[in-house]
């Protein structure tokens, strides 16, 4: 990760900016409905080891005077799915190391969905983090 950030520093113009956009190390929430009508059903239990390592790498390049942090923004990002099958397929896409079996959550969403009108969407809401770093010039050589 530090190597990737160092390479980014090399190809950025002086005073160029690097944006690190990725999910924050906060558990995603699965729910029903969309937008303002979304209601939480359960909270996922992801493993955040990779995210913590990435945060460390960013801190490292700041310490090394390659970049300085300009800003940090957080916002919610929704993934909206039409069916339980879509939700199952989405859960299955995770690496098992990152996300152990979430059959319990699938069942919870299934039960909640049974009580809702047909066509109710499933939405997973997760906090995103956008960190903006500015290249520090003449920090290498």
């Amino acid at each position: 990760m530090v190597h990737a950030l160092t390479e980014a520093h090399r190809v950025l113009k002086p005073n160029g900016i690097l944006m690190d956009l990725r999910p924050a190390a906060k558990h995603r929430r699965a729910g029903l409905g969309e937008g303002k009508h979304w209601k939480r059903v359960g909270v996922m239990r992801e493993n955040f080891d990779d995210d913590i390592a990435a945060d460390r790498a960013v801190k490292q390049v700041i310490r090394d005077d390659l970049f300085q942090q300009e800003s940090l923004i957080e916002f919610d990002l929704d993934r909206v799915m039409d069916t339980l099958q879509d939700f199952h397929a989405w859960l299955d896409d995770f690496d098992v190391e990152k996300l152990p079996s979430h059959d319990w959550l699938y069942q919870k969403v299934e039960r909640a969905l049974e009580k809702k009108p047909a066509g109710t969407k499933i939405a997973v809401r997760g906090l995103m983090r956008l960190r903006v770093l500015k290249k520090i010039v003449d920090s290498i050589d």
């Binding site: 990760m1 190597h3 990737a4 950030l5 390479e7 980014a8 090399r10 190809v11 950025l12 113009k13 002086p14 160029g16 900016i17 690097l18 944006m19 690190d20 956009l21 990725r22 999910p23 969309e34 937008g35 990435a54 790498a57 960013v58 800003s71 923004i73 916002f75 919610d76 990002l77 929704d78 993934r79 909206v80 799915m81 039409d82 069916t83 099958q85 879509d86 397929a89 989405w90 995103m128 956008l130 903006v132």
Partner: protein, 99 residues
């Protein structure tokens, strides 16, 4: 699978407000199938070089590239550790879910 990401455009809104993208040279690392790349293209940068290590996703991204963005976006297979460009080439680099 039917999955709609960011239907309310919160991600686009956050990115648009963070800098002036117009006329800039952008490198997007981890472009996947180009979902975010197309949104960035709407901010009117001069050029976006979009990389992903998965050639299959790059093929999908190229297939989905609208005619109006063909001059502006260039998809390439590649990764963050070895960007095949000379030094000091880009105004903005975005690591899109890659770290």
């Amino acid at each position: 699978m039917t999955l709609v990401m960011d239907p309310t455009g919160d991600e686009t809104y956050a990115l648009k407000g963070i800098t002036n993208w117009r006329g800039k040279r952008i490198l997007e690392v981890g472009c996947g199938d180009g979902r975010l790349t197309l949104r960035l293209a709407g901010f009117n940068p001069e050029k976006i070089i979009a990389l992903d290590p998965d050639p299959k996703l790059i093929r999908t991204a190229r297939k989905n590239l609208p005619e109006k963005y063909k001059e502006r976006i260039e998809y390439r297979a590649g990764n963050a550790e070895h960007v095949k460009h000379k030094a000091n080439q880009f105004d903005v680099i975005i690591f899109s879910w890659v770290l």
